[in-house]
Symmetry: C2
Subunit: 106 residues, 2 copies
């Protein structure tokens, strides 16, 4: 994963409300999924929640699934885990091989 992509995802994760939304989506996933559920759990206007959801959608962290009159969302677990790996890679490339600076060049 490229720096720009990782940064974009980090930005998407960089708001406490959006972390909450991820948790809410995860929690309710097996019963119904949600969206007005999310709005109920947060003291925010529906339009605001919808906007946050869009950010998560654009980052590929959740997926939309129309279901009748409502839109359900499901976690993109693989993507969430890929972000973890990408970050791990960044850290490894930063914290590990910092011992010899030539490592990057060679």
């Amino acid at each position: 994963m490229q720096d720009e992509d990782l940064a974009a995802i980090m930005r998407a994760l960089g708001h406490p409300v959006r972390l909450s939304i991820l948790r809410i989506v995860a929690r309710q996933e097996r019963g119904q999924c949600c969206c007005s559920d999310v709005t109920e759990s947060l003291t925010l206007a529906q339009s605001t929640v919808s906007q946050h959801i869009k950010v998560l959608l654009d980052a590929g962290l959740i997926e939309r699934q129309p279901k009748g009159t409502r839109n359900c969302y499901i976690l993109q677990r693989e993507r969430l885990e890929a972000v973890g790996s990408a970050y791990g890679g960044l850290i490894a490339g930063i914290c590990g091989p910092a011992i010899n600076e030539q490592a990057k060049a060679g």
Copy 2:
């Protein structure tokens, strides 16, 4: 680590230039450290770089170390790794126990 803190750090990591700065700091750490080094490696004004550095400082991802007329920066490896763990915890709490929704309540 709390959601708000994690989100704040994510936001700090949410800009490609700042990821680059982390890399540059890591690379040069053992020789001199840097700062004008960073500015040289990036096609950005010194003030802009300084601003990005401040964001990383405030997030606790690097540390300042005055050295004569220049300011050197060093990675806060533990913090970077703590972020990885915190994210891992988030993922685990989200991707794992989503199978039974009662887990969170009980």
